[in-house]
C-alpha cells in the first residue's frame, strides 16, 4: 500500500517535473511598442482609451506626457451619473497623481448605486471607483450584494469582477467563497495545444482574471488555487497576444504580464536566446537572457545547461555545464559552446535555473530549450576533371585542379565523350569528409549566357562525382549549341560559413551538327508581337439578286390570291357606302400604315399610343358595320322563314 502510494507520488512528481516554461518573453522592444500604442492614443477620443493609455504607461514605467492636459481631459469627459465612467476617470486620476475629481458628486452616485438587485459589473465599477477616490466602502453591504448578484450571474467576467471587488474590501470581510471560486474559474479556461490557457479566446477576459486572481491572493495572503503549469500557460497566452494595436488590448497584455512578472506566488522564468543562432569560431559563445515575463531581473541565479542534443543524430555533446553571468547585464548568461568540441550541426540546448536565495515563487525552472547551429568552413580537395571516350578506347586524360585556381587551358569535349568530375568536401574543423546540401555544377554558355545546372551526387564515402554524357545531353540541356562554356562548382549549406561558386574550367563543347535548332528561343522578357484587334466580321450576306428574286417570289402568292378571288366572284359591288363601312376599312388601312411607320421609324411606345387611338376608332366603326350586317342577315333569315 505505502509502496504503491510512494510510486504514485514519484510518478506524479516526474510528470510535474517535466515542467512547462514560457515560450517567449516581453522584450524591451515589445514594451517600447506597447508604449507607443499608448502614446498614439492621444489626442484622446473617449474616456476609456484615455484610461487605458494612462494606466498602461504607468504600468510600463514610462513617463506620462502632458499630465495637465490629461487631467483636464479626464475631468471634462467624466459623467458623474455613471459608475462606469467614474471607474475609468477615478483610475486615471489616481494614476496621474495630482488630479482631483469632484468627490462629493461621485460619492452620491456611487453610494446610491449599491441597492437591491444591483448587478456585478455595477458593483465592480462602484467599489473600484470608491477605492480609487479614497472614499469609504461598506464592505459587508458590498459582500452581501455581491453574493446575491452572483447567484444569478455565473459568467466568467462577473466571476473575475468578483475577485477584483473582493481584493478591494477590508481585510476582515469574509470572502472565502469568492477566493475559492478561483479554482472553478480556472477549470472553465480552455487549453490550446498544451501550451496556452485562455478564456473564450478573449485577451481582455483572460488578463482581467489573472490580475484579479493574484490581486485577491496577495490581499488574502493565500496562494491562489492555480497550478504552476496553468500559470505558465496563462503567461504563454498573454505573450502570444503581445502584437496588439489598440490601447485596451495593449493594457490587457501589459497588466496581465506585469502581474505574472511580480506577485507573491507564481513568477514564470523565461529563458530566451540573446545571441545569434550561429555559433562559429569567430563567435563561440551562446548568450541567453533569464528573466521574468517582463524581461526583469530575478536576482542572483545559477543557470545550467543540462544537455545539448544534435538534431541530426541525437548525439549529446554536453551535460550539466554551468553558464557564467555576463558582467554588464544582470539577466544575461553565457556559455562557450565550442569548448564542447561539438561538430557542425543544429543543436537543442536545455537549461535549468536555480535561485541562489531559494524563492518558491519561481516556476518553469527547467525544460527551457534554445536552438543554435554550429557552422564550419569547408574545403574542397582532390578535384579531378577527366574526359573519357565513350567506347573506352583511349585512357582518359585527368586534370587535377586546386581550389581556387582554374585549369590552365580550356578542355575540349566532343559528343562521343563523357565529362567526369570528382571532388571531396572536407570540414575544416576536424578534417573529415562531409556532404553539403547544395553541390551543383553550372555550365554557362559564354556567348548567349544561357545556363544549365546539374546536381553532383556523393557516394557512401562522401566522394562527389559528376558525370555528363556530352552527346546524349546535347538536345535536352544544351540546345545543341556548341561553343565555349564556363564550368562552375557551386557549394552551399546552412552549416557552411563559406559557400562558394568556383569557376573550375572553361569547356569547349562540340555537339553534332544535325537538327540545327539554331532559332534562338524567343527571349521571354522582351515585348511580344502586337496582336491587332479584329472587329467582328459582318455576316456573309447572299448577293442582292438572290434576295430580290426571293422577295418577288414571296409576293407572288398575293397575285395568285387576287386571281382566285376574282375567279370565285368576290362581291365587291355590295360594298355598303356607309360611314361605318368606310371608317372601318380606312381604320384597318391606317393601322397597317402605322405598322409600316413602326418598322421604319417609330418606337413601340409611340406605336402603342397611336394604335390605341386608331384601334378605338376602327373598333367603333367595325362594331357598327358588323352589327348592321348581322341585322341584315337576321332579317333575311326571318323573312325566309315566314
Amino acid at each position: 500500500m505505502t509502496r504503491g502510494t510512494t510510486l504514485l507520488v514519484l510518478f506524479a512528481l516526474t510528470v510535474v517535473g517535466q515542467a512547462l516554461t514560457p515560450t517567449t518573453v516581453l522584450t524591451t522592444v515589445d514594451q517600447a511598442r506597447l508604449k507607443a500604442v499608448f502614446e498614439n492614443a492621444r489626442p484622446f477620443t473617449d474616456l476609456a482609451s484615455a484610461h487605458y493609455s494612462i494606466l498602461g504607461l504607468k504600468l510600463l514605467g514610462a513617463q506620462i506626457p502632458n499630465t495637465h492636459d490629461n487631467c483636464n481631459y479626464v475631468k471634462s469627459a467624466v459623467d458623474y451619473k455613471s459608475p462606469e465612467s467614474l471607474y475609468y476617470a477615478s483610475a486615471a486620476t489616481k494614476a496621474l497623481g495630482n488630479c482631483q475629481l469632484s468627490n462629493s458628486n461621485a460619492q452620491n452616485t456611487l453610494q446610491a448605486a449599491i441597492k437591491d438587485g444591483v448587478d456585478v459589473p455595477t458593483l465592480f465599477f462602484v467599489v473600484s471607483a470608491l477605492t480609487n477616490l479614497g472614499l469609504p466602502v461598506n464592505s459587508n453591504e458590498v459582500v452581501n450584494a455581491l453574493t446575491e448578484a452572483l447567484k444569478t450571474d455565473d459568467s466568467i467576467l462577473s466571476g473575475s469582477m468578483a475577485l477584483h471587488i473582493a481584493a478591494q474590501l477590508s481585510k476582515e470581510t469574509d470572502v472565502k467563497v469568492i477566493f475559492e471560486s478561483i479554482e472553478d474559474l480556472v477549470a472553465q479556461a480552455d487549453e490550446v495545444g498544451e501550451k496556452y490557457l485562455q478564456f473564450e479566446g478573449d485577451l481582455g477576459l483572460t488578463s482581467f482574471f489573472v490580475v484579479g486572481a493574484y490581486r485577491l491572493a496577495g490581499q488574502q495572503n493565500k496562494a491562489p488555487l492555480i497550478m504552476e503549469d496553468q500559470a505558465v500557460k496563462f503567461a504563454n497566452y498573454l505573450l502570444s497576444r503581445k502584437h496588439v494595436q489598440s490601447p485596451k488590448n495593449a493594457y490587457d497584455v501589459a497588466a496581465g504580464l506585469s502581474t505574472l512578472g511580480n506577485n507573491k506566488y507564481h513568477i514564470p522564468v523565461c529563458i530566451t536566446r540573446e545571441s545569434s543562432m550561429t555559433v562559429s569560431s569567430a563567435q563561440s559563445k551562446v548568450q541567453v537572457r533569464v528573466s521574468n515575463v517582463m524581461s526583469g531581473a530575478l536576482g542572483k541565479l545559477t543557470v545550467k545547461a543540462d544537455s545539448a542534443e544534435r538534431k541530426e543524430d541525437g548525439a549529446v555533446v554536453l551535460s550539466n555545464s554551468a553558464l557564467t553571468a555576463v558582467a554588464k547585464d544582470n539577466t544575461l548568461y553565457e556559455l562557450d559552446f565550442l569548448k564542447t568540441k561539438a561538430g557542425r550541426g543544429f543543436y537543442t540546448i536545455e537549461f535549468s535555473v536555480a535561485a541562489d536565495k531559494p524563492d518558491s515563487r519561481l516556476i518553469g525552472l527547467s525544460g527551457a530549450q534554445v536552438e543554435v547551429k554550429v557552422v564550419t568552413t569547408v574545403n574542397v580537395e582532390e578535384v579531378e576533371l577527366s574526359l573519357e571516350d565513350k567506347d573506352q578506347s583511349t585512357p582518359p586524360r585527368v586534370t587535377k585542379v586546386q581550389y581556387p585556381q582554374k585549369t590552365g587551358s580550356n578542355l575540349a569535349g566532343d559528343h562521343h565523350q563523357n565529362l567526369v568530375m570528382k571532388f571531396l568536401l572536407k570540414d575544416k574543423a576536424d578534417n573529415s569528409a562531409m556532404e553539403a546540401h547544395q553541390a551543383f555544377v553550372r555550365l554557362t554558355n559564354k556567348r548567349t549566357k544561357q545556363e544549365v545546372i546539374f546536381v553532383a551526387e556523393a557516394d557512401d564515402d562522401h566522394v562527389y562525382k559528376f558525370e555528363l554524357d556530352i552527346g546524349a545531353s546535347a538536345k535536352e540541356h544544351f540546345n545543341s549549341l556548341s561553343g565555349l562554356y564556363a564550368m562552375d562548382l557551386v557549394v552551399g549549406d546552412a552549416l557552411i560559413q563559406n559557400p562558394f561558386a568556383w569557376n573550375v574550367a572553361d569547356l569547349q563543347l562540340k555537339f553534332p551538327e544535325d537538327s540545327a535548332t539554331s532559332e534562338e528561343k524567343p527571349n521571354l522578357y522582351q515585348p511580344r508581337e502586337e496582336i491587332k484587334h479584329m472587329f467582328r466580321e459582318p455576316e456573309v450576306r447572299p448577293p442582292a439578286t438572290v434576295s430580290t428574286a426571293f422577295t418577288g417570289l414571296v409576293l407572288l402568292p398575293v397575285l395568285i390570291l387576287l386571281g382566285l378571288w376574282i375567279k370565285l366572284g368576290v362581291n365587291i359591288a355590295n360594298f355598303p357606302l356607309s360611314l361605318s363601312a368606310i371608317g372601318f376599312h380606312i381604320g384597318l388601312g391606317s393601322i397597317l400604315v402605322l405598322y409600316y411607320l413602326f418598322f421604319v421609324q417609330l418606337n413601340m411606345f409611340d406605336t402603342l399610343k397611336y394604335l390605341a387611338i386608331l384601334g378605338t376608332l376602327t373598333f367603333l366603326a367595325g362594331n357598327r358595320l358588323l352589327g348592321s350586317i348581322a341585322n341584315k342577315r337576321k332579317q333575311l333569315l326571318r323573312s325566309r322563314l315566314r
Partner: protein, 116 residues
C-alpha cells in the same frame, strides 16, 4: 400498280368536284386566302433552307406570321361554316370575323416588332 394510281387519281378528282359543288362561296374565299398564306410560308421556308438563316429573327417573324395567319384563318373558317352552327351557337359569323381582325392586328404588331 396502275390500279392504285388510278384509285388515287379518282379519289382526288372526286374530292375536288365535291368541293367545288358543295362548299359555299364564303368558305371558298377563305380557302383561297389560306392557300395564299400557305404558299407564302412555303416560299419563306424554302429561302431559309437554300440561302441561310441570316437574319434569323426576320425569318422567324415572317414564318410565324404565316403560320399564325393560317391558324386564325382556319379558326374563322370553322366558326363561319354553317355546318358547325351547333357548336358555335353564341358566336355569330360577324363576331368571328371581328375576332379574326382583332387577333390579326395584335399579330401584326408583334410581327413588325420582331422583324427588326
Amino acid at each position: 400498280m396502275a390500279t392504285s394510281q388510278a384509285n388515287v387519281f379518282t379519289v382526288v378528282s372526286k374530292f375536288y368536284d365535291e368541293y367545288v359543288t358543295t362548299t359555299p362561296q364564303r368558305l371558298k374565299i377563305i380557302d383561297a386566302y389560306l392557300a395564299y398564306i400557305m404558299l407564302t410560308g412555303i416560299f419563306q421556308f424554302g429561302y431559309c433552307l437554300l440561302v441561310g438563316t441570316f437574319p434569323f429573327n426576320s425569318f422567324l417573324s415572317g414564318f410565324i406570321s404565316c403560320v399564325a395567319s393560317f391558324v386564325l384563318g382556319v379558326c374563322l373558317r370553322v366558326q363561319v361554316n354553317p355546318q358547325n352552327r351547333k357548336d358555335f351557337l353564341h358566336i355569330s359569323p360577324e363576331r368571328a370575323f371581328a375576332d379574326f381582325v382583332f387577333a390579326h392586328i395584335i399579330l401584326h404588331l408583334v410581327v413588325m416588332n420582331f422583324i427588326g
